[in-house]
Symmetry: C2
Subunit: 426 residues, 2 copies
């Protein structure tokens, strides 16, 4: 019998009936003899409703108070789930992040877990009861205040708890059947991956795949926690994220595919700094200004200098949400940095091809560029890592680009197999 | 400048606009130079909605989980209030019962406060900030679990916090202007009391006056906390509950009225045990059985024994909510205790006349009975204490009885002065 950590997102516990369904699923796992700890998000839209209430008070509420406010959401879902499980005859107790020993730093709104000391959870499991733990929240021991982990926080709670409990597996229940070779809403013939390595999953998450958040995958890789991404709406096996991406010969007699999948991201924008003097140190100055505004840069392209003018253009991508801050920072330093003007473009899309197999396969980038060219899609920027190639296209040709690349790399299933069940939790 | 604890009930923080209004009031008190700690209940119907959600899971949810669930309510209202106050330029921080040092016993659902260690609240006030504290909740240190205090719990939190902080006054904001000589909904000419003693307030609360809960008044009396009951919808002075009920000569040159007020209670029922053998020890047996069912008895009447039969009837009143439990307990022991039958009557009403002044005034009960007799109202049971006389009447003549007694004791104001503003909080 195994020790299992299960995580259910907001759409899985959206209302009373959903909670009852999750309770049944948890009770079954417990009755099968497993030790079960469950991490839950807030019910459905609770978090957004609480944020809305706070914004009715003031546009910029203090983060400490926002954290207290938002943690009420998991408090409600976790106690209701414990009540529902108990009513099925299986003992269950719920615990806040603090009670579960989720210790974080003091950064309200996006705290990082620095330790998990789950003695109450272990004691509960030893009693034969199911332990329910509030996702997304922890406590800072210096201030004794509650903190929240930011977007994707509940996934991170689940993986961190699984690591601390030395769980056999961390099951992340979501509204899709697992990790797919592409977003099934864009590529109906996308295939579900049976397994995927931590590194590939990291690149997929960083490149826009929303099924798992980057921080959660980083945590799983660091502590070697096997993560099973699966649907809370079906009993299908999902995708196992592990450090052993290759199936054993018995499991899969065919060769492991070279490519894990095609991710896409519409959340970035491009800033072009026009007319930069082509002298050493200018690029460093520009990116220094952007960094000092707290903005992370993704891709960079420097055009060939026009020899006649001695000026060049530098383009980079960044989260569109940080666009205004970056522009303001650059604008304020224009005389100092020295450039002609700024251009801003938030109608770009990024496509990323990810696969550990591509390291040893030459010609991957040639095939990618060929597929996009055949589809008549223009490439504006390119970056590569050992297991990823990313290109920037126009936003309105991104879907077509994803489909073209998916087909070119033989990722299509014979028929559409993915089902998307609902919204996404936090 | 004073140290003030203010308590706002659910109807005072029912929605975003109400919270903003409360925030303004708190900010004014702080700007006037006072140290201000605020205790809040959950917003409006939040508690009832959470209870309803739990009952959708199972009719009898575990009390530990119910406490976790319900404490989410104050978490939301307290953080929103802190946000609203901060947005007015006055620093404010919110604290859960646990963070505020409200230590209770382990009885989930109706825990008793055993200590308050408000070091974080004191530190916050010393910083010049307003401290917001969740009412109705605490923590049990043996289990490290949250507890709730039951009905009226937020008032008790406020008084206990005021006692621990050695506050100058505990202001209980409610939806009426203070404590009245009778319920203004029944007696439109009821007068607001300027002051009332702890003992009289205790008797009024125990006799059905709902403006303050019994436990809160007990706590205030034990620790000598002056309580100012006032409206959150107006700026009128309310009623001061204190151990100095008599105004000083400068404050009130006229004689202190003999009677504090007339309370009424419709929540009791009457059980009559018919045909009890009139031998010593039978009454003790009956009340022993009822007590063992966890039921508190209020009034008792034993009829004169009919000499012919050697049997008597014993009637007693009890909370109607406990009626079924008491009947079942008695029924189960019928052969053992020895009686003919049981009668149950939940259409009774109780009127109580309360006043420290009546101790030294003879003829109070004669005047009371005369007023009821003149109004044609039959008295079924009577009990008295030094400062209270209670009578049981038919439920449907209770309102008329209250008005008749109110008039007979010269309590009527010349015109209606009470305004009732809304629902009641917890």
């Amino acid at each position: 019998m195994a020790l299992i950590v299960q995580k259910y997102g907001g759409s899985s516990v959206a209302d009373a009936d959903s909670i009852k369904r999750v309770a049944k699923r948890v009770a079954e796992a417990r009755r099968a003899g497993h030790d079960v700890a469950v991490v839950v998000s807030a019910m459905g839209d609770t978090t957004d409703e609480l944020i809305d209430l706070a914004h009715q008070m003031t546009p910029l509420p203090p983060q400490r108070e926002m954290d207290i406010l938002l943690t009420a959401g998991e408090r409600i879902s976790m106690s209701l789930l414990a009540i529902a499980i108990t009513s099925l005859g299986v003992e269950a107790r719920s615990f806040t992040g603090q009670q579960a020993g989720v210790i974080t730093d003091e950064v309200h709104g996006k705290a990082r877990i620095i330790d998990v000391t789950p003695s109450r959870i272990s004691a509960t499991l030893a009693d034969g009861a199911v332990a329910i733990v509030a996702g997304f929240q922890g406590v800072n021991l210096e201030t004794n205040d509650v903190t929240t982990l930011g977007r994707g926080g509940s996934d991170t709670t689940a993986v961190a708890l699984a690591a601390a409990l030395h769980a056999d597996v961390c099951e992340i229940y979501t509204d899709v059947d697992g990790v797919f070779t592409a977003d099934p809403r864009i590529v109906p013939t996308a295939r579900k991956l049976e397994r995927v390595g931590y590194d590939e999953m990291l690149e997929l998450a960083a490149s826009g795949a929303k099924v798992l958040m980057l921080r959660c995958v980083e945590y799983a890789r660091r502590y070697g926690v096997p993560v099973h991404v699966r649907s809370s709406f079906s009993t299908h096996t999902g995708t196992l994220v592990t450090d052993q991406p290759a199936p054993t010969p018995e499991e899969a007699p065919v060769e492991q595919p070279m490519i894990a999948g095609v991710a896409h991201d519409r959340s970035e924008a491009k800033i072009t700094v026009v007319g930069v003097p082509d002298v050493p140190g200018k690029a460093a100055r520009i990116f220094g200004v952007v960094a000092s505004a707290g903005v992370n840069i993704d891709m960079i392209v420097q055009n060939v200098s026009a020899a006649r003018t001695g000026l060049t253009d530098i383009s980079f991508t960044l989260p569109a949400a940080d666009g205004a801050a970056a522009l303001a920072a650059l604008d304020a330093r224009q005389p100092d940095v020295g450039f002609d003007s700024l251009q801003y473009d938030d109608t770009i899309g990024k496509l990323s091809l990810v696969g550990a197999g591509m390291k040893s396969h030459p010609g991957v980038s040639a095939k990618l560029f060929g597929a996009l060219s055949d589809a008549g899609i223009n490439i504006e920027m390119i970056t590569t890592s050992e297991i990823r190639i990313s290109v920037v296209t126009r936003a309105d040709s991104l879907d077509e680009a994803v489909r073209a690349v998916h087909t070119a790399f033989d990722l299509d299933a014979e028929t559409a197999e993915a089902v998307v069940y609902g919204g996404t939790g936090r």
